[in-house]
Subunit: 227 residues, 2 copies
């Protein structure tokens, strides 16, 4: 069985990606980050998701990204935007963007993959809902993959390192349908930017809004636990 | 004054790069990593170097890379190679290679640069002495730079993020000459892979050997404090 590292945040998107990797017969190594995010209940959710979907191992890597500041997700002085003031792609890069976050996460996934002897990394970037985030776009992923193939021992010694982003072009409804087909239990996932300690969602942030609209459009009952 | 983030390890190479960035009139933000390396006295050295060369700020970012294993620099069960068994480029990738290390470090530099509003990053990779390390080669640096320009808010909004590697093609003797011209006090730098707690070098590891040969070839008195 081929090994793959999967970035798992505890949210709906990455849970779906983990299920897709499992369906493709990868032995999955789930990687989450304790980076000082507001929504720390996602770490509990990520452990539950990894276990439920059958990851061979789940690791939480600790690094403190709050010191840089600059994002609503790590800086308590910047408010998380809510549905009343939606963050549209046309409005530019959202305040919930964390500087270089996906690059840092993918780099750490690359390190773990190399020590596992894996050349496959799965991640839940989505360019439809997160078009305002530079590090969620297909051309960014392609550039990261090209860099990764030059950066590492495994890349140099012949393995074609591949960054799989199977949901990058899907709508939220498509993602919900795909995960439902794969029996993902979305009740255990937390997408909210400011979920409480018990994982209850606020229901009003951008992420909650996108998620709720996704279930509605997919015609799937929304199992989200709102606070 | 333009700001730049400089990766500073406390060694000879990065001290020289910091001095070069200062000569180019950058306001320098020195970044070091406490990643579980054997040679922890380099963290003391990096603080001394940053202060002596005039960095505006010096930060030590903590993240634990020992959990992955796979490198002599972070895994106590793997021996550091010594001059008696030199690691030649022809021998492949050295055991002192840390998986994806430079990619992780550059990614974190990118995050700090973005929050500082800087688009310049300096790093001391060298492809002459470290030709066996995939992440020290010019084509890797070019790929990282291309990725960084797509990854970030600053890259997207018009700044041409640049990864400066001014010593990448220099011999160790050239680096010593350049640093000597710039009045770098190499006595405070630590290059040894297994320096003791006081920063005294072992004198026999690959890094010590390269450094000593560099001073000899440059005709500069070697100020290294050997144990």
């Amino acid at each position: 069985m081929k090994k793959a590292v999967i970035l798992v945040s505890g949210g709906l998107d990455s849970a779906t990606v983990l299920a897709i990797a499992r369906e493709q017969c990868f032995e999955t190594y789930a990687l989450s980050f304790d980076y000082g995010q507001r929504h720390r209940s996602e770490l509990v959710a990520s452990a539950n998701v990894a276990k439920a979907i059958g990851a061979a191992e789940h690791r939480v890597f600790k690094l403190d990204l709050t010191g840089w500041g600059g994002s609503a997700l790590t800086d308590a002085t910047i408010a998380v935007p809510t549905s009343s003031v939606p963050t549209e792609p046309s409005a530019g890069i959202p305040v919930t963007y964390v500087p270089a976050r996906n690059t840092i996460f993918l780099s750490l996934a690359l390190a773990w993959a190399e020590t596992l002897g894996a050349i496959d990394i799965f991640a839940g970037m989505n360019a439809v809902d997160y078009s305002g985030y530079p590090d969620c776009r297909p051309d960014y992923i392609a550039a990261f993959q090209a860099m990764a193939r030059l950066a590492t021992k495994s890349g140099v010694e012949g393995g074609a390192i591949t960054i799989h982003t199977p949901i990058i072009k899907m709508s939220k409804a498509d993602i919900v349908r795909e995960g439902t087909r794969l029996n993902v239990d979305y009740a255990m996932t937390v997408s909210c930017y400011q979920a409480d300690a018990n994982g209850l969602a606020c229901g009003v942030c951008d992420s909650c809004r996108l998620r709720r609209e996704g279930f509605a459009a997919a015609g799937v009952v929304d199992p989200t636990r709102y606070g």
